[in-house]
Amino acid sequence: MGSQLRIYKRRIKSVSATKKITRAMEMIAASRIIKAQRRVAAATPYADEITNAVTAVAYGSEVKHPLTTKIERPRRAAVLLITSDRGLAGGYSSNAIKAGEHLTGELVASGMQVDTYIVGRKGVAYYGFRERPITHSWTGFTDNPTYADAKDVAAPLIEAIRKDTDEGGIDELHIAYTEFVSMISQTPVERQLLPMEIVDSAEESAEVFKRDGAPRPLYDFEPSPEQVLDALLPGYVESRIYTALLQAAASKHAATRRAMKSATDNAEELIKSFTRLANAARQAEITQEITEIVGGASALADATAGSER
């Protein structure tokens, strides 16, 4: 076997080994998307109900509370950026980081100080490499977040929201994560969590208004609107963060699946072109051998013909 042919054979072997790995990762990611989607669906009723409850208190009472009151001149905001722990997901993490950067840029442009909170090793690495301060970071659960993880993430944020701005508290809480739209489409989004966006809730309440054909019910708050809001605040923040974490996890798996699918396709493409090259090399070798034999034979024939004369 010629040296050229051997090199091609070796590369084909290594590429098909890689292809097996990427194919396996693609299938693992595909099964994880389904699981993650199911968890998103399971968490939806709670998130909906708690949002309803918050809207009800916000409209049913005139309580001043960080959950619902827009501060006139916000000075400090927190940005929670959700990325993944592992790569191999195409542009997933860098897109999420880009959304976070955009959000931070806008908040800074509006004259606010921004505290950065990061979930996922990729985002931590990005900020660490640029030597930018991170207020708090969490890693290790992005593939499969539980409600306890969401609680962990929410705790320092809730504490910061409750504190005065002068003592290092925050006026606004924003979140940047990747929304799972479908298997093939995931979009990075920037949302304001606190104070609640009144525009959104006004639209929601308008819908409720239309559906029921009656004004919003007058709630009885037990023990009092303030206390109900106080108790609702952590639940609301946790549930929103939990949903964001689940969406991000589903998006990450979908991005991994897509990246691994194109890696498998590329490997196939490579194997094909290497096979062609190997065939050409083999054919060239054979042709060369024939030429050598024919050349040798005719040289021999010429030599014997010469001696006969």
């Binding site: 968890r39 399971a42 968490a43 009723p45 709670y46 109900e49 708690i50 309803n52 409850a53 009800a56 208190v57 049913g60 539980t146 409600y147 029921d212 019910p217 007058l218 709630y219 009885d220 708050f221 037990e222 023990p223 206390q227 109900v228 108790a231 609702l232 639940g235 946790e238 549930s239 939990y242």
Partner: protein, 127 residues
């Protein structure tokens, strides 16, 4: 009779939903019983058992759930019980809860003790 549609949801799943004639829960200001036609209410729950008297399609019976904090909200015949953690009494592993209670007592782990206690009370209430 007016119906009461109950949804019991935990943070990561829907635990129970169906029709009921009476729901008894413990709020921070005391026990409260809600029947169809109650005035709109939003209250903070204490950890404890919630008793649901089922009616309608789900048939007559009693469902007891252990609810670890959360809220109850009622409007227009729809009652939602929201809790971070909620379990139906038949889902609770009594032996495990008893073991957890003992362990929590010996380690003076108050939150764990309360959780185990709520579970056991829910099981006791369903009998």
């Amino acid at each position: 009779m007016a119906e009461l549609h109950v949804e019991l949801v935990a943070a990561d799943r829907q635990v129970w939903s169906g029709e009921a004639s009476l729901v008894v829960a413990r709020t921070t200001s005391g026990d409260i019983g809600i029947m169809p036609g109650h005035q709109p209410l939003l209250a903070v729950l204490q950890p404890g058992p919630v008793t649901i008297r089922t009616a309608g399609e789900t048939g007559q019976g009693t469902v007891v759930a252990a609810v670890h904090g959360g809220f109850v909200s009622y409007t227009d015949g729809k009652l939602s019980l929201l809790a971070e953690i909620a379990e139906l009494s038949e889902e609770i592993d009594v032996e495990r809860a008893e073991r957890a209670l003992e362990r929590a007592r010996s380690e003076a782990d108050t939150p764990a003790e309360r959780r185990a206690d709520v579970r056991l009370r829910a099981v006791a209430a369903s009998r």
